[in-house]
């Protein structure tokens, strides 16, 4: 700044007379390009496999073009119909529906629309399938309204048309509403009947169980990491291999092993009955419930807690604890006031890692969680692979992502994100 003010005109040049700034930029540009070139494979990989799918997921959770694309004239004609009027739409709407359906049946898109709208109202799937078979045989001269109602009396049902109109815009909040157990009723947004509410409950359970898993990972992992950090390198390497051993066996094998151990006729119960701690009639239920999920997931995620803890503890010099003891602190005080606070960054990193992994797990809860130990991810998986309701799956996934991010911000506020050390 000072330089440029005293000699603004006098631009510095290199030997060959070019401006120094230009030359510097040129030299740096080559460096930058080379760096960019080197990270390009990773960058492209991340963009294609990570950023793009997440963007796609966010988009799917609100996208709803299928109604307008399949029934353009009907949507247009419905615009002037008041869904609160209590009367069925007029003949022009049925006529528009007829000509839309003729095209849709030819392109076989009407059944797809049917299964989309069936998520919102039961029965529309078969309504479209059935009507699709009849629409070609309809008489162009006679009024379509009667013919449609004759084909299926659901066309005389107000709620069918209300659903159609409600979901005719290209973008919808319907999936997000469904993801929080709500729906848009005649009087605006309202909660679904109690016997259909499941997602908020599952979100809550997922968070709660993930916290429980994180805590049990911490309780089990902390002493192990401490031991690893305190032992001489040769012994700790051996122990480290044991810690990493679960990584080398298939997830399904490990989970099945837990079944053998935990089930009511399993090894642990057999042993407890044999030593007489419990009676044969009162065998413990440790699997196909939340206990099973917590135990199996803790085992699977334990290394993710131990590794960051270990790498932080490794940097804590033993002289701190010695100093504390020489200053008069007993073992517990030395640990709690001096060692533990210094290991907090490792706890932070391990807890965040385990929690985020736990919150998105679904294979293990599916296998050992029974009905009370399953997570929200299990429903996401169900909607992706079984019900094909990808919009709802995307909305649930987006909410999960948002929940994790909110927790992250809260964590940052309370503990501080700079207080996280992965190594």
């Amino acid at each position: 700044m000072f330089m440029s003010e005293t000699a603004p005109e006098q631009l510095l040049t290199t030997h060959d007379g070019r401006s120094l700034k230009v030359s510097l930029a040129r030299a740096l540009r080559r460096e930058k390009l080379r760096a960019l070139f080197l990270i390009a494979p990773l960058l492209i990989f991340v963009l294609l496999t990570f950023v793009a799918p997440i963007a796609d997921m966010l988009f799917r959770s609100v996208e709803n073009g299928i109604v307008e694309d399949t029934l353009p004239q009907t949507v247009n004609a419905l615009a002037s119909w008041d869904s609160g009027s209590g009367e069925l739409p007029g003949e022009p709407v049925y006529a528009a529906l007829h000509s839309d359906l003729l095209v849709a049946v030819k392109e076989k898109t009407h059944t797809r629309l049917g299964s989309r709208l069936n998520y919102e109202q039961t029965g529309i799937s078969s309504l479209f399938r059935k009507t699709g078979r009849r629409v070609k045989r309809m008489d162009d001269a006679a009024p379509f309204k009667e013919q449609f109602i004759a084909a299926d009396d659901k066309w005389a049902d107000l709620s069918t048309w209300q659903t159609l109109k409600q979901f005719s815009p290209r973008y919808t909040d319907g999936y997000f509403l469904a993801a929080v157990d709500a729906e848009r009723g005649p009087d605006g947004i309202e909660m679904k009947p109690a016997d259909e509410q499941v997602y908020i409950y599952l979100f809550g359970r997922t968070l709660l169980l993930s916290v429980a898993i994180t805590i049990s990972c911490l309780i089990l992992g902390y002493p192990i990491a401490y031991l690893l950090a305190a032992l001489p390198l040769r012994t700790s390497n051996l122990l480290m291999i044991l810690v990493l051993l679960p990584f080398w066996t298939s997830l399904l094998v490990r989970t099945s092993a837990w079944k053998v151990l935990l089930q009511q006729q399993g090894v642990i119960n057999d042993f407890l009955v044999w030593i007489g701690l419990i009676s044969n009639a009162n065998r413990l239920v440790m699997i196909n419930n939340q206990t099973g999920t917590i135990i199996a997931m803790t085992h699977i995620l334990l290394p993710f807690m131990i590794l960051p803890l270990y790498s932080v503890m490794k940097t804590i010099s033993p002289s701190y604890v010695r100093a504390a003891k020489s200053l008069g602190a007993n073992d517990w005080t030395a640990f709690w006031r001096v060692y533990f606070p210094q290991s907090v960054p490792g706890i932070g990193a391990g807890a965040v890692l385990v929690f985020i992994l736990a919150i998105g797990y679904y294979i293990t809860p599916e296998l050992v969680g029974g009905t009370s130990g399953i997570f929200i991810s299990n429903r996401i998986a169900y909607h992706i692979s079984s019900s094909l309701n990808w919009g709802l799956a995307a909305a649930l996934g987006t909410m999960l992502l948002a929940a994790v991010m909110i927790l992250f911000v809260v964590y940052d506020k309370i503990v501080g994100i700079d207080n996280v050390k992965l190594g």
């Binding site: 010099s317 002289s319 010695r322 200053l327 602190a329 001096v338």
Partner: protein, 364 residues
């Protein structure tokens, strides 16, 4: 803090082995009276730090007993020994402020808040860091951290303070300054200090007595001047201060005086220190500053040698000579200001008194 007395420490036949095969400390007997500043000096691996750690309670003694104020402490856990300790890298708790660090030993002793604060402030002022209570250790310079570490080791009025190479991480100038400060604190408080270092200057500057360790054994235990003037063996002679070695054979012994024949036939008179009988091989130790040029002819021992190299060092001139076949023979000549007629290549006579040279055990 003013009323603190020092504690006495006794090592009684203490042995220490880590692997059950070799001893790192071999039969240590050491008596430290109250208020003494004792330094354990020795090269690394000599067993000095192990001795300190046994006293602090971080390493158990394999055999023998350590007494603190005449009470055996082998089975007393470290936190109950009431010993202040300054660690090599200070071990200041990084997550606490300076004041919290200092208050820590007071808190664990359940002292009330007001008294804590007062003591902490006094300790900070003692090390001239009165304004730094709210800083974190990482915000202090190395010298300041050092002082905090000393203050923390003293704040709970221990009778004994252990220091494990506390100045090792400081630069030379700061180290010298800290040496005096620690010495003054010791003098003011009267606590017993056991100090471990491998730096002989540090040991000589600060200590009442120095225990020179080598190979798990105390080679010599005496005050700094005795250590320098009357080394008991070649190891001590060489480890403390600069030293000329001349190897030879004892050819005559009379009382505490002996005659030594060097390999080139030169005969020297020396104090008999660590030789037993005629015919023994010996290494003669001689301090470089005790060798004279000018009055050489009238001294007990006179030899001639060739000047190989002269280095001007300001307060003195360091002359490297070849004497009796040893071309590492160093003479320190005080710089008196007058021109000297010495130059490289001259053959001159040098001399020294008999009791400046000691016949010690032979080293190759």
């Amino acid at each position: 803090m003013a009323g603190t007395r020092g504690a006495s420490v006794v090592y009684d036949s203490v042995q220490k082995s880590y692997d059950g095969e070799s001893l790192v400390v071999k039969n240590l007997n050491l008596d430290i009276p109250p208020g003494e500043f004792l330094t354990m000096l020795g090269p690394s691996g000599s067993g000095k730090t192990t001795c300190l750690m046994m006293l602090a309670g971080f390493e158990p003694a394999t055999h023998g007993e350590i007494y603190l104020n005449d009470k055996p402490i082998n089975n007393v856990s470290p936190h109950k020994r009431g010993i202040g300790m300054v660690f090599q890298n200070y071990a200041l708790f990084p997550h606490m402020t300076v004041a919290e660090n200092l208050a820590f030993p007071l808190q664990v002793r359940n002292m009330n808040k007001a008294e804590q604060q007062e003591k902490v402030q006094r300790a900070l002022e003692m090390v001239e860091l009165g304004q730094f209570g709210n800083r974190r250790p990482a915000q202090l310079s190395g010298g300041q951290q050092q002082r905090v570490a000393v203050a923390r080791a003293l704040v709970f009025d221990p009778e004994l303070v252990l220091m494990d190479e506390p100045l090792g991480a400081l630069d030379k100038q700061l180290r010298e300054q800290m040496q005096y400060e620690i010495k003054h604190i010791h003098e003011n408080l009267g606590v017993t200090v056991v100090y471990v270092t491998h730096d002989q200057t540090e040991a000589l500057t600060m200590s009442d007595r120095v225990a020179v360790f080598n190979d798990g054994i105390i080679q010599q235990l005496s005050s700094p001047d005795v250590l320098y003037e009357d080394p008991q063996n070649s190891f001590v002679a060489q480890f403390i201060g600069e030293n000329n070695k001349l190897n030879g054979k004892v050819i005559d012994i009379q009382g505490d005086e002996c005659k030594v024949e060097l390999s080139d036939g030169t005969h020297l008179k020396a104090d008999k220190v660590n030789v037993d009988s005629i015919g023994d091989l010996t290494t003669i130790s001689l301090r470089p500053e005790r060798v004279e040029f000018d009055d050489a002819v009238s001294m007990d021992n006179v030899v001639s040698g060739k000047i190989e190299e002269m280095i001007y060092l300001g307060d003195h001139i360091r002359v490297r000579m070849n004497v009796a076949g040893n071309d590492e023979f160093i003479v320190k000549v005080r710089n008196r200001g007058e021109k000297r007629a010495l130059s490289v290549g001259d053959t001159v006579k040098v001399g020294w008194a008999r009791n400046d040279c000691k016949a010690l055990d032979h080293v190759a």
